[in-house]
Symmetry: C2
Subunit: 299 residues, 2 copies
């Protein structure tokens, strides 16, 4: 199935215990489409400013990402984010978010994208996500990501979006926040009542699970003793998951399990380097090797 | 292989959001031997006072636990513990611990136990655990549990014990505390350098993993939307794990994975009821049913 990935393309300045990077490539749409590109030929919708480095567009194109929907607005600046990861790496402190070109953004969907059967709405305002979704003819599978910021400031818009999607993917803390409970499984169960057929909860180093009314699938994380830069881990997870689902063409238990397994592995490869430094050199065979290794670790 | 399980037999008074119980059956040795009894015929070493209810001895015997090593000291009182679980159930607040009959306790090992090939040293003072271990002829597999209290107050004695065991099983927070690091995998790696060939880290609702120099196996937890009483979850996990390993007779990857899988399931059955109320009625077929269900959930 054809996959449209929608999300930000950004410049990230960040610091982790392993070093720092300034204005490196980032953004939920970039990480997600890159991760999906190992499994399918994703169509990217995003927007950048005149300061965008065209080499990054070529990097995505080189991975097989369809960049027709990557809009460049010369008069604006690309989104910018600055963050610091403290020693424990589990939480990131955002120091600066400059939305820039995303201010007042209305996504432009190329005609050639409108028949997309899978849509991934990356971490972006629920209103903007809804605007994009309304441009797609008859999507069969729509999955959205979200984050604490939108849960806190745009709850009603987010709840409206949830009525129009098939799956929601989010972090454990975000799930609890959205469902207003301290229990993760209860949170997932409550989210299912707001519209989505399934919810995928990402638990960082503890893995992830997929829950629907009648199904539950869980995976541990891939054991990494050194995490260099967790930025984009969740977007890469979601992108790879969508890529596998688009490639499989169904939501059978086998396809869902495969999606969780590959998402875990692809995400683990991403966080072994800053920005996309490690990720951009990953080959599909490397993914298969790690998947094989991971399978041996699972009970 | 024959399995000796060593740990406390106690009266527990506890309160969870689902209710309360006074002087109910508890203790690490009780939970562990009960859990092991689904897979093997464990030999229990423990001590109780004159206030011990002989029906509890019969309960264990009825499950196939060899209770020859359950010493009754009529002049002393059974260990007593009182705790409260707050709403999130993730941490327990201990209100009272009366060690009673365990004060100055030197374990007595029946002659018929001295050829035990597997030994599980439940959550008990490392000095008492070492004393017991010295009574066993030639154990092939010795695994110890420990807890924050002994890590804080008897670190050197614990480190001495670690030089004489094959495996350590403990909670994630305890592993970090023992290894003095905030990173769980690093903690496990450091613990391996103190003596044990393998370490098993229990992560509560996030599952568990087994790490040795060259191996890593991980399992998610069984998804329970209602946990009635988490008391004994870790002991039941360890006991079932030891029972499966004793039944398997080796530490092949298949045996270790099976041990983690069954330990997860047995532990999940235990915490669905207060004390051993649910556990005492569990049948092996019920375990197999849940194992089959759990396998379908794993990627």
């Amino acid at each position: 199935m054809s996959l449209l990935t929608f999300g930000s393309a950004a410049y990230d300045s960040l610091e982790t215990p392993f070093g720092r990077r300034d204005h490196s490539l980032g953004g939920s749409g970039v990480y997600a489409s890159f991760a999906a590109s190992f499994f399918t030929r994703p169509r990217l919708v995003s927007v950048v400013g005149g300061d965008w480095n065209p080499e990054y567009t070529e990097l995505l194109r080189g991975r097989g990402v369809d960049v027709e929907g990557l809009e460049v607005r010369p008069s604006a600046k690309t989104m910018f984010w600055r963050g610091v990861y403290p020693v424990d790496m589990n939480h990131c402190e955002t120091l600066v978010t400059e939305t820039n070109v995303l201010d007042g953004y209305v996504p432009v969907v190329p005609e050639s994208y409108k028949d997309s059967s899978c849509v991934f709405l990356g971490n972006i305002s629920p209103l903007v996500a809804a605007a994009l979704l309304s441009e797609i003819d008859k999507p069969r599978l729509v999955v959205a990501d979200t984050m604490n910021y939108y849960i806190a400031t745009m709850r009603s818009e987010l709840l409206e979006l949830l009525r129009h999607i098939d799956g929601l993917i989010l972090n454990e803390d975000e799930a609890k926040m959205l469902a207003e409970t301290n229990f993760t499984l209860e949170a997932a169960r409550k989210i299912l009542k707001t519209g989505p057929r399934f919810v995928v909860v990402k638990r960082g180093e503890y893995g992830a699970f997929w829950m629907s009314d009648r199904e539950f699938y869980a995976t541990p994380s891939y054991p990494l003793e050194t995490v260099v830069d967790p930025t984009g881990a969740g977007d890469a997870f979601a992108g790879a998951m969508m890529g596998v689902l688009a490639e499989s063409g169904d939501e059978s238990p086998a396809s869902v399990k495969k999606a969780l397994l590959y998402a875990t592995v692809v995400s683990s490869l991403n966080i072994e380097g800053f920005s996309l430094e490690r990720f951009r050199n990953v080959r599909r065979e490397e993914i298969e090797e790690r998947v094989a290794k991971f399978r041996e670790m699972l009970v």
